[in-house]
């Protein structure tokens, strides 16, 4: 077992991948702390899967390096993958094998006993009666559950999961998130990519946002939210007063009738002072959700620079 405190679970340094002349990943540097859940966000084609394929040694870097627990993913791939679980896509399982044979094969190839298999089958509500049947007879969701069990059953030090909740129903998705947080609490590291921003926000401590193959931001989710402008929604009793937009640090984002949505930069004191002199029916001030932060990085598609720099931003 690797000592989680010894080194970063994953490090990439100026990692790049080009297919012919098309860059799929460009100059990405990040570090995934051990014992954490790290999420990579981005739409299709952003470079998430390429990043994961580079980590797994499926493709060779065009530039830079990637390492898992200090072992280079391309030149020292066997050592890098010694205690690693990877979620293969559900379509990449052997359709002629039974579920049990598939799990046994995965464990044999890992060289470790499947210590978590039974617990995972229970947590994901996998019907035991299906284990003896061929995968070709499984539904997509059931294949996804089996692929997750195959990846996690040996309790690896690092889990690399590409769209892990794809095909899972919401209840099982929540159960799976609990599995991930349990693993994290036991010192394991999880690196996942997902389209589901709410899921990432629920389970990940840190995230990286990639766009067009470039790393736009890497930060703790809490830091990311803290450093973004707060969102204030105010319902005025007698219409939106003049001068609201001139309050220091306040930008009026949207007005509808007597309701205004504001972006508040820095301290909320000046806004509260202004509202104290107005007739206010309702007031809600909150940090932006991860989805709102993510979408800001994708506003004005085609822009070459991030919408707003954040802590941990490497570019």
């Amino acid at each position: 077992m690797h000592d989680p405190s010894a080194t970063a679970a994953i490090t990439t340094a100026r990692l790049s991948k080009r297919y012919d002349r098309t860059p799929a990943l460009d100059d990405v540097s990040l570090a995934v702390p051990p014992g954490s859940i790290f999420g990579v966000l981005g739409p299709n084609g952003a470079g998430k899967t390429t990043l994961i394929r580079l980590l797994m040694g499926f493709v060779r870097p065009s530039g830079g390096t990637a390492a898992i627990f200090g072992h280079d993913c391309w030149h020292d791939g066997v050592a890098a993958r010694r205690d690693l679980g990877f979620l293969v896509t559900a379509d990449a399982l052997y359709p002629d094998l039974s579920g049990r044979a598939q799990l046994d094969l995965a464990a044999t190839l890992s060289g470790r006993p499947p210590v978590l298999r039974d617990r995972l089958l229970d947590a994901l509500e996998f019907p035991r009666s299906l284990l003896g049947k061929r995968l070709g007879t499984y539904s997509k969701g059931t294949r996804q559950k089996l692929a997750l069990v195959a990846a996690i059953q040996t309790e690896p030090a690092l889990l690399v999961l590409d769209e892990p909740s794809d095909g899972l129903d919401p209840l099982i998705q929540r159960a799976f998130e609990q599995v991930l947080t349990d693993l994290r609490d036991r010192g394991r590291t999880v690196f996942l990519s997902s389209h589901d921003l709410a899921e990432v926000e629920r389970v990940c401590e840190r995230v990286a946002i990639v766009r067009q193959g470039r790393l736009m931001a890497e930060a703790a989710v809490a830091d990311l939210r803290r450093q973004q402008r707060r969102i204030a929604t105010v319902a005025f009793a007698t219409g939106v007063p003049d001068g609201l937009g001139r309050v220091p640090g306040v930008e009026v984002r949207h007005v509808e009738g007597s309701r205004a949505e504001l972006l508040v930069d820095g301290e909320v004191g000046p806004l509260l002072a202004f509202l104290g002199a107005s007739e206010v029916d309702d007031l809600l001030i909150r940090r932006p959700r991860l989805e709102e932060i993510f979408l800001r990085y994708y506003d004005g598609a085609g822009a070459e620079t991030p919408a707003e720099p954040v802590a941990g931003h490497r570019r």
Binding site: V59, V78, R81, L84, D91, A92, Y94, L105, T108, G111
Partner: protein
């Protein structure tokens, strides 16, 4: 079972039904030769018929009337081993394995199950080579087994040296190994199994065409040394019990070059997404 043998077993198990079907087909084809030999007047009867064939059809038979007349039953049985159907079945067995086990696994993504574990590409490739060796051995043995069964069942007239079936199997193994090695190289280069099968089918067709018709179409003669089938002549092997060592060497080295070249490509290539 070790992970390496488990990998090999999985690769062989995936196409087992098809492989068994091909082996049975090869065995049946060689088995039926013995029961039919007397119905056409034995080897002399066939030799007499062949003497009336035009050169182009004689070339297709891949034997000579005088050889048949001299070797009798042995010469007749040897014809089965150069029949296009047998060569097609033998080639199909190794090409299908080579195509499915590497390019096919890359195409379907199933190879990720192995390569995401602490297993090197070299080891993953070695499992394919071992699987190929097993398929080659089975294909090489299937024909002689069929011949033995046919001879025991029909007991045709004429002499036959049972021991000569062993060098015949070695000669067949060398040919099939060469085809398999080249197919494995193609499988390491390609990203789909279908493409490998297409390449292999084209190569085998051209190779067979060149060797078969070089005697009647002089323009093909310079190209004959490049045909794999120029180094496979089961008639003399079955009659004399010896394999031309140069033939063995050429086929063995061809297969080995294909296997090594495939490894060099596979260990550095990107897996298709």
């Amino acid at each position: 079972m070790t992970p390496f043998l488990r990998m090999t077993g999985r690769l062989l198990g995936r196409g087992l039904a098809g492989l068994v079907g091909i082996l049975v087909g090869i065995g049946l084809f060689t088995a039926v030769q013995a029961p039919i030999v007397d119905s056409i007047g034995g080897a002399p009867g066939l030799a007499a018929m062949m003497q009336r064939l035009p050169p182009i059809l004689l070339a297709l038979s891949r034997t000579r009337p005088e050889f048949l007349a001299a070797t009798g039953l042995t010469g007749f049985l040897a014809i089965a081993y150069t029949h296009p159907l047998i060569l097609l079945l033998a080639g199909a067995a190794v090409v299908a394995f080579a195509a499915r086990s590497l390019a096919g696994e890359m195409e379907q993504g199933t190879i990720q199950l192995t390569l995401s574990r602490p297993r090197s590409r070299e080891v993953a490739y070695a499992a394919r080579v071992l699987g190929l060796v097993v398929v080659v051995a089975l294909v090489a043995v299937a024909g002689p087994v069929g011949t033995v069964v046919g001879l025991l069942a029909a007991r045709p007239a004429g002499e036959f040296a049972w021991a000569h079936l062993l060098p015949l199997a070695v000669s067949t193994a060398a040919l099939v190994w060469a085809i398999g090695g080249l197919a494995l190289f193609g499988s390491a280069v390609a990203s789909t199994a279908g493409r490998v099968v297409g390449w292999a089918l084209g190569l085998l067709t051209v190779s067979y065409f060149v060797d078969t018709f070089a005697d009647v179409w002089r323009v093909l003669q310079p190209w004959r040394p490049f045909s794999l089938f120029a180094y496979y002549d089961p008639g003399p092997v079955l009659a004399d019990g010896t394999v031309n060592p140069r033939h063995l060497l050429v086929l063995a080295v061809t297969g080995l070059v294909g296997v090594v070249a495939g490894l060099l490509v596979f260990r550095r290539r990107d897996l298709p997404s």
